[in-house]
Amino acid sequence: MSATAVPPPPSSPSVPTPSTGSSVEATPGTRRVLGQLVRLEARRHLRSPLLWLALPVCAWWVWELGRQPWSGAWYQALPNTFTPLLVVVSVLVARSFHRERAPYAETAPVGQDVRATARLLGTWPVVALIAVATAAGATWLRRTGGVDLGDEPGRTLHAHFTLPELLQPLCLVVLAVALGAVVGRRLPALAGGVLVLALFWLFVGGLSWAFQSAEVTSFSVVQTQPVKVGVGPLDSDPTAFPDTWLLSAPGEYQAYWGRLVVSAALAFWHDLWLLALATVAAACSYDGRPRWRGVALGVTVAALAVVMQLRVIP
């Protein structure tokens, strides 16, 4: 009886070997695992009651804005209404990344970079949710003719957000994801991390009006427009200003006549600033070379974005 050669096993899908290296190995198996992990994370986020609790809170906040008597309430405060959702997104992502700290994560069949990438990409449903909400809001404003802005005699009832302003909520949710990632991955106590994230978003989102002065707005997180430029003292004749100007009348918090300027360029560079911050934060949730590359890229773009904001601010 002759010994026959044992045929090789049928080609099986390549299974990625356990790896703790810092590079994402782009084998077909790794891509398949990445896809599965992304779907798993996405399902987990969508099943969270916190996410669905935040939506009616945001809607209530928007509805409450409609009851505000002051001109420009919608235009100036609408970006703040995403704050509850941003808190929840950060917390969900922090919970997800905190699982990386469990000892059994080291025995997973793919490296931590693949897992981190999957956790980040798995947030696509919440990003899509914000995109849909923003698009729906913009469409609704187009159909209803816009919102009021400015004080008589320089006032309009048909103000619309510029495209970079509409993109700000998307950039904010990307930042919320990145901050959740770095806090969940790097802080040892999740309870403390959640509190840090909640406080951060309440400060920069809920109290965003405190960060809108000309000196600070370039470094703010939630930026609200228009920018106010002083054009005359308290006793100025407002009818002497050009008809095309939107005006802000003197009041309890302002002892001068101001001109309201909406700057799409400022909003664009601010969006880039947010994405740069998100890059730095997301990079810090990785180990090794990707981290330092991401930090270097993020810091460079952030510096450019700040300089450009300071140049274009009215």
Partner: protein
């Protein structure tokens, strides 16, 4: 357990506490209140102080969660007593930071914060483990709701206007929850 044993356990229990949450939240709060003090005035700055001090108190109460608790099981000390020691040690520091934040920003409400701390600690001592973190968040959640939706729901101002009543009601609620959970079959705790 003798008072001597309890006293001897204070140091190892306090050493087992993770101080990072309090340090992280405290740094954020002091930075924010410093910014508010430099750039804002009156009620506007006070909002930063109130929110920040509530966050610090919540961070201290969240010391109820300790991953190293099992290591201290050999101590002749009840789990709840250890939890109380951890929270008390952090609350001492947290209340100092909170009072600084309130003082710097000119906001009142120190008594109210103390009442919310009592409520949160009482709840964390009696609720099931999975609800301890949400219970620790009560001070921050209540103050945030009061700041952002308070004008619509005046009852939310109770923590500022009637701190004694809030603290008493919180302790009574905790006692009630404790008795209800003990009577329920199936070991909800």
């Amino acid at each position: 357990m003798t008072p001597f044993a309890a006293g001897a356990a204070v140091v190892p229990v306090v050493r087992s506490v993770s101080w990072w949450p309090l340090v992280g939240v405290g740094t954020l709060v002091l930075t924010a209140t410093g910014f508010a003090d430099a750039t804002l005035e009156g009620v506007a700055a006070g909002r930063f102080g109130l929110l920040g001090s509530a966050g610090v108190v919540s961070a201290a109460v969240s010391a109820a969660v300790d991953p190293a608790e099992e290591l201290l099981d050999p101590l002749p000390l009840a789990s709840r007593l250890r939890q109380g020691m951890r929270q008390a040690s952090q609350l001492v520091v947290a209340l100092v930071v909170a009072l600084v934040a309130l003082e710097v920003t000119g906001a009142g409400g120190g008594g109210g914060l103390l009442a919310l701390a009592v409520v949160a600690v009482s709840l964390t001592l009696v609720v099931p483990a999975r609800l301890v973190r949400p219970a620790a968040g009560v001070p921050l959640a209540w103050v945030a709701l009061d700041l952002f939706v308070g004008p619509r729901f005046e009852a939310l101002a109770a923590w500022r206007e009637h701190p004694w009543a809030v603290a008493t009601a919180g302790v009574a609620l905790a006692v009630l929850v404790h008795h209800l959970l003990d009577r329920l079959p199936g070991g909800l705790r």
